[in-house]
């Protein structure tokens, strides 16, 4: 049975009830997000995860999307003047945007499910990949004469600084996960095991969050194993090839 993220029961200072209801109240602006302890929601989710033997990646994905949307809204509320373009977005618009994005993601997931079903229907359909065994030889492709200034234009375009990214879509300007993916990989090439807290010491909160997302991505790609003996206990990371047998298990203290 997958975890129903939206039915996750929460017991926070500002709110008691299911996650779904919290989202609703936030969307209707009946609950000021600045009073909601988002870390508390994360703890509740992690504890729920810990009750299970295996990792529910599906639920983790959905949870990350929801919680990051909330984080984004909250960050926006806390630092309204940080960016003029951000400040221009009314709370109502921001809530609308959140709802729009939730719907968009859900549709993408449903479309993916449809594709998967389709793949199942095509399971017993085989066709040739590549050229026929006795096909006539393909002649060399011919290219019409080209103007050399097109090359100069192409290179000039590559040398122009990109315009500042548009904030219309409310993307938080996180450092790219790829940066941290590479850092973790480099680190794990030198050492088989590292401690998360030690490695992220001195980084900003946002950077720590992205570093953690990068870890999840590496875990998903089976490059590493992650273990944590109890909530808030140190997170240990090891190279998957160094410790194939170690699966990610989270146990409550």
């Amino acid at each position: 049975m997958p975890i129903a993220v939206r039915e996750l029961e929460l017991d926070l200072d500002a709110f008691e009830g299911p996650f779904d209801l919290l989202l609703t109240l936030v969307l209707r602006e009946e609950l000021p997000l600045r009073e909601v302890d988002l870390a508390g929601i994360v703890v509740a989710f992690v504890e729920r995860l810990a009750e299970r033997d295996e990792l529910d990646l599906e639920a983790c994905g959905e949870f990350l999307v929801l919680i990051s949307a909330l984080l984004e809204l909250k960050a926006r509320g806390l630092f309204p003047e940080e960016d003029a373009e951000l400040a221009e977005l009314e709370p109502e618009e921001a809530a609308e945007e959140l709802a729009r994005r939730l719907a968009e993601y859900r549709r993408a997931k449903e479309a993916a499910a449809w594709l998967l079903e389709r793949l199942g229907e095509r399971r017993d359909v085989y066709w040739r990949l590549g050229p026929a065994p006795l096909a006539p030889a393909r002649p060399e492709p011919k290219l019409a004469p080209q103007r050399p200034d097109k090359l100069a234009t192409a290179l000039r375009a590559l040398s122009v600084e990109p315009p500042a990214p548009s904030l219309a879509h409310m993307a938080l300007r996180f450092p790219p996960t790829s940066q941290f993916l590479e850092r973790w990989r480099a680190l794990l090439r030198r050492r088989t095991r590292v401690d998360f807290d030690q490695e992220v010491e001195g980084l900003s909160r946002v950077e720590v969050a992205v570093a953690f997302l990068a870890l999840l991505e590496l875990r998903k790609q089976d490059e590493i194993a992650i273990s944590q003996p109890a909530p808030f206990a140190p997170i240990r990371i090891s190279r998957a090839d160094a410790e194939r047998s170690l699966s990610w298990t989270v146990r409550s203290a």
Partner: protein, 199 residues
């Protein structure tokens, strides 16, 4: 007197159908009616008649070779009946082990049309670099220019994508509205939950 009779007996579309069979058996990709018209130098009405004839002759249950309409054209495939024998001989490198992340990314590109990695990342909420290069490697998506002159590279789905998923064209994807709720619906749903809860 003999001659016109012989012409009727030979059924000229039959000869055209034989040529089309030959084209289909060597082609690496589905051939559209336009492709067939160009290669046979015949007219499109006759080509369509011949294709109709062939799709009856090469149909599931009647022949081991099946003619199907897919990815904007016509192509031969093996009959479903022969799937087990095919599985013993052939791998399925394109669709083998497509992850959920890969399917979501494909869905987004197929539905939204050309889009960039940041576009996809925004919807999926995670970095998609690895997934996108994996899909390019499999040939399911390909580059489709940049967002603007200086922007990120955009990707589109390929004919191979349509073939793997058995789509006649991208228009064969179900409408998204039928699949998921839109903004107002999702809000309404959330609010309904709120009202049901005892205060």
């Amino acid at each position: 007197m003999d001659r016109p009779l012989r012409l009727v007996a030979a059924n000229p579309v039959d000869q055209l159908a034989r040529t089309i069979e030959a084209l289909l058996v060597v082609a690496s990709q589905p051939l559209s009616i336009d492709d067939l018209v160009a290669a046979t130098e015949d007219d499109s009405e006759r080509v369509e008649t011949a294709v109709g004839l062939l799709s009856d002759r090469y149909r599931e249950g009647r022949s081991g070779i099946v003619l199907e309409q897919v990815a904007g054209g016509w192509a031969f495939r093996a009959s479903r009946e022969a799937a087990e024998a095919c599985a013993r001989l052939y791998e399925r490198p394109v669709e083998k082990g497509l992850s959920n992340a890969a399917l979501e990314t494909l869905a987004i590109i197929a539905y939204l049309g050309p889009c960039s990695r940041p576009d996809i990342a925004r919807i999926r909420g995670v970095n998609v670099d690895g997934v996108v290069s994996g899909l390019v490697e499999r040939g399911l998506i390909a580059e489709a220019g940049r967002e603007n002159e200086f922007g990120a590279v955009r990707y589109r789905t390929t004919a191979l994508f349509e073939r793997v998923f058995g789509l006649e064209s991208l228009a064969a994807l179900p409408r998204l509205d039928d699949l998921g709720a839109d903004v107002t619906e999702i809000r309404a749903r959330l609010e309904a939950v709120a009202e049901k809860r005892p205060a």
